[in-house]
Amino acid sequence: MEKFTTLTSTCVPLPIENVDTDQIIPARFLKATTREGFGDNLFADWRYDKSGAPIKEFILNNPTFSGEILVAGKNFGSGSSREHAAWAIAGYGFKVVVSSFFADIFKGNALNNGVLPVVVSEGFLAEMFAAINADAAATVTVNLEEQTITNNANGKTESFDINPYKKGCMLNGFDDIDYLLSNKTLIEAWEQK
C-alpha cells in the first residue's frame, strides 16, 4: 500500500446522496480475478451510454473538473461489501473521498486500499460543493498527520476522525495481514481456551 501524508488537489463534485456500491462499480464488472482495471468502469452506468460512449453530462466526463479528491453526498458507498468499489475509486486515481457520511464496509475497504475517507460536517460539505462549482480550480488540502481538511477557497478547516491504528497504517503504508500474522501465538492460545 502507498503511504499517505498530505494532499492538496482540485476536486470532482458528485452531489448525490446514497451513492451505492452498485453505482460505483456495477455487478457485471465484478468478474475479474485481479485487483486491476476497475478504474475504467468506475460509475460505468452513469458514465457511458449503451453503446459505450461517454455521457457528456456526467461529472467524470466533464473536462472542467479533475483531481484526486472525490466529493460526494451523504451516505456514500452503501450496499454491497464488494471491495471492487474501493479498487475502482483507487484505480481511477482518487486518493481521498469526502462526504458527510460513509457506509461502514465501504469505509473499511477504502482504508485497506490506501483511499482515505474523510467525514466532514454537512455545512462544510455544502461549502465545498459551492466553492468547486464557483471555481473548478478551487483546491482542498487533506493533512492526515494533523487530521484536518481545509477548503482553500474560503480558508476554513475542519478536523476529521480516523482510528489511530488505521492512521498509522496509512501514514506508513502498512497492511493488516503482517500485523495479524505477528500475533500467531496469541491466536493459537485463544484456540486452546
Binding site: 446514497n18 453505482q23 451523504k74 461489501s81 461502514d104 454537512e122 482510528n163 491504528y165 497492511d175 495479524l180
Partner: protein, 463 residues
C-alpha cells in the same frame, strides 16, 4: 448486564490492538467466487497457507446459470471465475460445494441448512448479506476482499467494536404480512444509513413467533439500513432447526453446546446504545418505489411528494423517481409489471416457496409476466419436489429454475431488460441492479405471488 452481542464478541477477542480495532477470532468463513480470487492470490504472493482450512466453506453462487447447470457455463468470464474458485479451494484445501454438488447453492442458504451456522459463532463472508446468519444468535457480517485474505491467513479479523441497537417489534403481524414486509418497513423508517455503525438485535413478540426462515429474512436485510449485522437471541425454534443437521454437534457435544447456547441472550438490565420499538399491527405488505431499499411504502399508500424531502436529498430523490418512471404522490397498486423474481438469499428458502405455491394454487399465471422462480439451493429444490410444490407451480403455469443468486444481482444471464419493471423478492433495488436500466420493486413472496397472477402490483390480501 451484557447484550447478546457483547457476550459473543467478548468470547472471541484474541487481543485488542493498542488505540485500534479488536482482533476477533472467526469460527466460520464462507466464500464465493466473486470476492475471493484476489484474496487467494494474495496468499500465494505472500507464500502463505490457509491457517485453518476446515473453517472455510466455498460455494459458487453469484455467477452460475439457472438453466443447464450440467453444461459448461457459457459466459467465458463467469466460467473462469467459477473455475478459479475450484482451483483455489483445491490448492488451499478448503471445502468446496461446487456446481453439481448436492450442497451447492447460495452461500447464505447452504450454511444454515447444513448446520454450519450455529448460535454463538462469529461468521464472516465477502458478501454484505452475511448478516443472514445472525438469525441463529451469532455475530455475522460482510467483509471486503482484503479481510477475506486476513481470515484465510490468520482466522482472525481486525474490527472496531460497533455500537449496539435493539429493535423491538411488539405484537403480531397481520394476515398477509410477511417477514420481508416487516424488514422493508423497518428500513423505510430507518433509511439506508440509519443504522450505520450499529449491530442490531431484533426482539419482541413478532420476532419470537417467527420461524428460523423468517428470522433469516429479517437479519438478511439488516445491511440495507447500514447496520453491520442483525441478530436474534437463540431459543427453542433455533435449537429445533439446528438439531440433526449434518454438521450440527451430536450426542454429548450437542448437550454441551445447548447448555452454552441457552446463555446467549441479552441480560434483562443490558443497555443498548440505541433502542427503537415498532408495532407489528402498523405494518402492511410493502413495496419499494425508488432506487434504494429505504424507499419503501405500504402497498396501498402513495409515493411521498417532493415537499416531504429535505433540500440536500431532492436531487437524488428526483433522479431516483425518474429512473423508476414514477411520479411523486403516485399510487403503485394496480400498476402493470413485466417480471417477477422469487429467490435470493432474502427469499429463496423453502418457506418462501411454500408461501408462493400456496397462494398461486388453483390460480393461473398472468400471460404478460415473465416469472423466474429460483430456489436458494439444491436442498431447497429437492424439498420443493418432495412436498409436491412443483406440481402446484406447474399447474398454475410456472417453471422452476436451478439454484443460485440469479436475478438478484444479474451476474448470470438472468437480467431484467432496460426499462422493464420487476417485482423482486431480492434485497436491492439499486439502479441497474437486476441488469442495466432494470426497474426493481422490492417485495415479499406474497406480493410477488399476487403480481405473478395478476400482472400488476397487487395487494395479496385483496385476492
Amino acid at each position: 448486564m451484557n447484550t447478546l452481542f457483547d457476550k459473543i464478541w467478548d468470547a472471541h477477542v484474541v487481543t485488542a490492538v493498542q488505540d485500534g480495532p479488536t482482533q476477533l477470532y472467526i469460527d466460520r468463513h464462507f466464500c464465493h467466487e466473486v470476492t475471493s480470487p484476489q484474496a487467494f492470490d494474495g496468499l500465494r504472493k505472500r507464500g502463505l497457507k490457509v491457517f485453518r482450512p476446515e473453517k472455510t466453506t466455498c460455494s459458487p453462487d453469484h455467477n452460475i446459470p439457472t438453466l443447464n447447470q450440467e453444461k459448461p457455463i457459457e459466459d467465458p468470464i463467469s466460467r473462469f471465475q467459477v473455475e478459479t474458485l475450484t482451483k483455489n479451494a483445491t490448492e488451499f484445501g478448503v471445502t468446496l460445494w461446487g456446481l453439481g454438488h448436492k450442497k451447492n447453492g447460495i452461500i447464505h442458504v447452504v450454511g444454515p441448512e447444513n448446520g454450519l451456522t450455529r448460535p454463538g459463532m462469529t461468521i464472516v463472508c465477502g458478501d454484505s448479506h452475511t448478516s443472514t446468519h445472525g438469525a441463529f444468535g451469532s455475530i455475522a457480517f460482510g467483509i471486503g476482499t482484503s479481510e477475506v485474505e486476513m481470515v484465510l491467513a490468520s482466522q482472525c479479523i481486525l474490527q472496531p467494536k460497533p455500537k449496539t441497537m435493539r429493535i423491538n417489534i411488539e405484537g403480531k403481524l397481520g394476515a398477509g404480512v410477511t417477514a420481508k414486509d416487516l424488514a422493508l418497513y423497518i428500513i423505510s423508517k430507518q433509511t439506508t444509513g440509519g443504522a450505520t455503525g450499529y449491530f442490531v438485535e431484533y426482539a419482541g413478540e413478532a420476532i419470537r413467533s417467527m420461524s428460523m426462515e423468517e428470522r433469516m429474512t429479517v437479519c438478511n436485510l439488516s445491511i440495507e439500513m447500514g447496520a453491520r449485522g442483525g441478530m436474534i437471541a437463540p431459543d427453542e425454534t433455533t435449537f429445533e432447526y439446528v438439531k440433526g443437521r449434518e454438521f450440527a454437534p451430536q450426542g454429548e457435544e450437542w448437550d454441551k453446546a445447548l447448555a452454552y447456547w441457552k446463555t446467549l441472550k441479552s441480560d434483562d438490565d443490558a443497555v443498548f446504545d440505541r433502542e427503537v420499538t415498532y408495532n407489528a399491527a402498523d405494518i402492511q405488505p410493502m413495496v419499494t418505489y425508488g432506487t434504494n431499499p429505504g424507499m419503501g411504502m405500504g402497498i396501498t399508500e402513495n409515493i411521498p411528494t417532493l415537499d416531504t424531502i429535505d433540500d440536500a436529498g431532492k436531487i437524488s430523490y428526483v433522479k431516483s423517481l425518474d429512473y423508476m418512471g414514477f411520479q411523486p404522490g403516485e399510487k403503485l397498486e394496480g400498476k402493470a409489471i413485466d417480471y417477477v423474481f422469487l429467490g435470493s438469499c432474502t427469499n429463496g428458502r423453502i418457506e418462501d416457496f411454500r408461501v408462493f405455491a400456496n397462494f398461486v394454487k388453483g390460480k393461473k399465471k398472468a400471460d404478460s409476466v415473465i416469472v423466474w422462480l429460483v430456489p436458494g439451493s439444491w436442498m431447497v429444490e429437492q424439498q420443493i419436489r418432495e412436498e409436491g410444490l412443483d406440481t402446484i407451480l406447474t399447474e398454475a403455469g410456472f417453471q422452476l429454475r436451478q439454484p443460485g443468486c440469479s436475478a438478484c444481482l444479474a451476474m448470470n444471464e438472468d437480467k431484467v431488460p432496460a426499462g422493464k419493471y420487476a417485482v423482486s423478492t431480492s434485497n436491492r433495488n439499486f439502479e441497474g441492479r437486476q441488469g442495466p436500466g432494470a426497474r426493481t420493486i422490492l417485495a415479499g413472496p406474497l406480493v410477488a405471488a399476487a403480481a405473478a397472477i395478476t400482472g400488476k402490483i397487487t395487494d395479496p390480501r385483496k385476492l
